[in-house]
Symmetry: C2
Subunit: 229 residues, 2 copies
């Protein structure tokens, strides 16, 4: 039975840009599982009320409902062990750190570069919610958050992303010789600016960009085929 | 045969504070391997010339010489599989990110809080080298680097260490249900300020501090027994 996934969409329902939803999309593709994605907007709380919470991704696999990208990865690993996303409990525990770093460091760094661009691609009905919630979080307008990004992006690349660059200098994938859920986490996070903005978060000559290009080609070119604004 | 390890020491040869050496000490203890540590100072290049490079830790296991804390962990895992430090290739690949983050983010953050304290505990013969190399790196005097730490430490705790706190809110060890090399990496890194300084890098009520206290008790209280300044 095809898995159904509620997936954040922009004004263009084909535009899918949530970093959490992309982690789940990559994880599903890693397992070779077909998925039907349903466009969802921030104000569609009723559409996912059955999940008992208000955020996407939410997947429905027959009678089973799972929300939260990390929980979805764990669910997929349990029900379809190969190809492995984690492969061992210790490996999963270590990936939690990568997930926590992506959530608490990388996402915030990217938001400061593209948050106003996001506003321009989301659905009209989501814009007031988005502006108010994000301006409250940052304590300034979306436009002010994003201002000066051409110079600030250098520090983001050199400093914020440095741990990724050090790892990818040692091994071809974050998972080592082959991609793992760690690759899904970081590539999913990078799909967010890719699908919201034309601003280049990565420099072309960055080893992280070379790895991301390889990720875009995986799973039949799933990432590369994604609609961009 | 007991493994020999060259271990950075202070003016007091019993004071051992290198974060890299502590990663190796914890890894050796995790494997239950006895080790004899030899005090080493920055200017003792001749004493480790046999290793083909100039940094500690260096271990000698019979005829085998291994330098670099990460390479030592890999060597130990290969030669003494249990108890596991990694347990799988994917787990090791994921731990590389934690190691890279500790090296590129955590160490620099800690240095800005204690670098002048380090100067005061190292051997007299190491002080000129230490001051010159670190002042060149930071572009200011050691005293200026460390100035204002009482207020700056709040941001270090809240922001820099946040990924660790998020993970330890989900699982008791960085390795999951049991300690892994990830725990050795981070605890080893925290032994550096513990053994160089009396400045509290962690707040007492931080879940990271609770985890570190448990790490200090592991392996027969190896970390807790370490000499402090």
């Amino acid at each position: 039975m095809t898995i159904i996934m509620h997936d954040l969409a922009g004004a263009d329902p084909a535009l899918r840009f949530s970093p959490y939803c992309w982690r789940a999309r990559f994880a599903l593709a890693h397992k070779g599982l077909p998925v039907e994605t349903l466009p969802w907007r921030f104000n569609d709380k009723a559409a996912i009320a059955f999940s008992g919470q208000g955020r996407v991704p939410v997947i429905r696999d027959g009678e089973t409902v799972v929300s939260d990208s990390w929980a979805i990865a764990e669910y997929l690993e349990e029900h379809v062990p190969a190809p492995a996303l984690f492969g061992s409990a210790t490996s999963r525990a270590h990936a939690r750190f990568i997930n926590a770093w992506a959530d608490s460091v990388m996402l915030g760094g990217i938001a400061r570069l593209i948050v106003s661009d996001i506003y321009h691609v989301i659905d009209a009905g989501d814009r007031d919610y988005f502006r108010q919630s994000r301006e409250a979080r940052f304590g300034m307008t979306l436009e002010a958050v994003q201002a000066g990004r051409e110079s600030r992006v250098e520090d983001f690349r050199a400093t914020t992303l440095l741990p990724l660059r050090l790892v990818l200098g040692k091994q071809p994938w974050l998972g080592g010789a082959a991609p793992s859920y760690a690759d899904c986490i970081i590539a999913g996070t990078l799909m967010w600016p890719r699908c919201c903005s034309r601003f280049a978060v990565l420099a072309d000559d960055d080893p992280i960009a070379a790895w991301f290009e390889r990720m875009l080609d995986l799973y039949g070119g799933l990432g590369r085929a994604a609609v961009r604004p």
